[in-house]
Symmetry: D3
Subunit: 154 residues, 6 copies
Amino acid sequence: MTGMMGEGWYFEDYEVGREIKSSSRTVTEADIVNFAGITGDWNPIHTDEEFAKKSVFGRRVAHGTLTFAIMTGLFARLGIIERTIVAFYGVDRLRFVKPVFIGDTLTAVARIVDKEDRGNAGMIVMEASVVNQRGEVVLTGTVRFLVKKRGEVG
Amino acid sequence: MTGMMGEGWYFEDYEVGREIKSSSRTVTEADIVNFAGITGDWNPIHTDEEFAKKSVFGRRVAHGTLTFAIMTGLFARLGIIERTIVAFYGVDRLRFVKPVFIGDTLTAVARIVDKEDRGNAGMIVMEASVVNQRGEVVLTGTVRFLVKKRGEVG
Amino acid sequence: MTGMMGEGWYFEDYEVGREIKSSSRTVTEADIVNFAGITGDWNPIHTDEEFAKKSVFGRRVAHGTLTFAIMTGLFARLGIIERTIVAFYGVDRLRFVKPVFIGDTLTAVARIVDKEDRGNAGMIVMEASVVNQRGEVVLTGTVRFLVKKRGEVG
Amino acid sequence: MTGMMGEGWYFEDYEVGREIKSSSRTVTEADIVNFAGITGDWNPIHTDEEFAKKSVFGRRVAHGTLTFAIMTGLFARLGIIERTIVAFYGVDRLRFVKPVFIGDTLTAVARIVDKEDRGNAGMIVMEASVVNQRGEVVLTGTVRFLVKKRGEVG
Amino acid sequence: MTGMMGEGWYFEDYEVGREIKSSSRTVTEADIVNFAGITGDWNPIHTDEEFAKKSVFGRRVAHGTLTFAIMTGLFARLGIIERTIVAFYGVDRLRFVKPVFIGDTLTAVARIVDKEDRGNAGMIVMEASVVNQRGEVVLTGTVRFLVKKRGEVG
Amino acid sequence: MTGMMGEGWYFEDYEVGREIKSSSRTVTEADIVNFAGITGDWNPIHTDEEFAKKSVFGRRVAHGTLTFAIMTGLFARLGIIERTIVAFYGVDRLRFVKPVFIGDTLTAVARIVDKEDRGNAGMIVMEASVVNQRGEVVLTGTVRFLVKKRGEVG
């Protein structure tokens, strides 16, 4: 029995080596249309079916940035960083490994690989990836974020 | 006089050292609301004004991932990669340097720092950043993408 | 020949026993995606096709709350409450009777079952339901709302 | 330390008397605009500022149905019903007690008041309400939903 | 007392000289953001506040096409063409007469100026305009659409 | 090699007789759903599949206004009017020639037919049309817009 009640993990709660797995979500045509609309990225590979049919992929693919955004959303939905994140610090070696197609179902997974005390906050480092319904890794990256320490004012 | 007519730059067109500057765009409350809705990332720092008022930022901030997504959209709108991009390869050292607030106006800038022939395509490497209306850098990263070579079938 | 011209029904215009039928609307995948994005309700039964395939329903279902929201929208489109509604008072015995799937076409129907003079406004009570293209009732409830009386300042 | 990891509460996990409190969320103009667009409910009290200024509320108010939809989303975000909900059964005595304005920040709270074994699933009954940043209750209702029992195939 | 019940006006119902007035709607920042996202028209005059401040308008303006789209929506909400329109034929002398700003409240008005029997359908011609809350005309055009005749199969 | 860098064409850059062709874009169900939501135009021919199946078209069709809005967006994406447009003046003889269905891929084309010096700005006149993936013209119109002249303060 679990259940996040308003507050996520503090620096002290993170254990190096712990694995995290998100819920899953199916990428729909509407997601790609809406994401083109939010970003202004209407590249034909995402929004022109006739062009995409003739491309190496054979059909429209999701924006890599959408897959990355979905990953951050899937992690956020876990409630781990609710009210305890200080800042999204950055990502290293973000790689769009395989194409994501309409109808693919994505899950975000991560392993905590490091934690560093930074005085009034702590840095968490996770090896993260996004996996599709066939078990293929479609995105990888090393995610860094700062979280609150217990007892620090925030 | 310029004007993209349906086709962007090929590998041969990229010059190392060339600088690129996008149009600008104001980040609105609607963008943050819509982005929370697309990603599922409803962290209170983005969507709960009462919480955000008491945070170190004093008000809601845009998702770092939204700033990144806006950057890719601003570059896409330049038309440079229209029909010529093969794949978004990845990003190195993506850093969310400063918070982005509702009403900030963002511009994406980049300098081409490397190009590598990869046989039937070419890798372009750009040092990219996003700058706000006060000239402050809010995001930096090294962006890598594969583009078509002239005469290659694609 | 009908045609709402800016103003709906006043308390005096409602007749107990009268039946109301809305236009119809097809529930699309985009509606479910957009509704998840507006509410933050990403339950896998609505947004994860792999999970939903193994559920009792065999595929993704619309949020019950979306069906309810669509019902209120279908009624609003009739123009009956345009400029004359005072407040949506509440709903009794709201029941989500059957699942709604992508591609189902919904119609809202209601029968006015009571009207009560409340001094400077009037309470209207309707037995409402939502019916799909196969004639199956998918939602029922007793809807209560306050409307203006003729001659009252509003 | 909490953290939902993919699976919510089973019937056995619910304790009568337990209280639940969600994260909070600020209702924005964009939410009202987007909700009008999803439902088709463009009643002037929600979308016409000139009309609303002259109304008893003095400005545009959120759709009651939007407040209800936000409540269900805030509860869903807790992760309690992730993968364990069987069906949203219904709501009794749903009441829109006070208007919700642009800029109000809403929190959903509930107390589990009953649980009933229904054979292969269990019914949970909660007295739910939505509270704004001034501590005012804006919506109340008795929410009923069916959840899985441990060991039942779902 | 009025109230559209599922069916609009047939050719025979239109009277030359009759005037039509829609409900009103406030144009929000979210509408402009969403419209840029649907069309891909991110011209700085609509989406870059810093640019717009220095323009002749002094702030962001709504897309003329958005005003036109809002006009067609306001007319559609009247229910006149519900189930009876055959086709939107076209518009003559569409003119964007004045800028529309965030916060402006628009009403669509029209006068039926001609009707022509076209055999199995009828052409309706309306002089249409959009007026803001200060009574200023912001858009004009001559709208032509085909509607069903009574007794024709549709 | 082309590439719009922030600034479009000035009056002096337009040549009568020049032809312009946009990128292409597939019209999706999500576009129609989102457009109904932005405009409030929920006519059954666009949003009710059961009704549309029995209509002359046999399925839902895109709003004519959506096709028009997509055309303006496709032209805007060319970058020609970026920072140089003064105002969208109007459209003459806008005609919705053929229905647009879900899945159709649209391209906007235009020929510059006239340019008129108007003192501190210039009027550009284009014969514009929208073509689908089968080469069928679905929309035509004469588009007029005002652009900056070089050296004029704007």
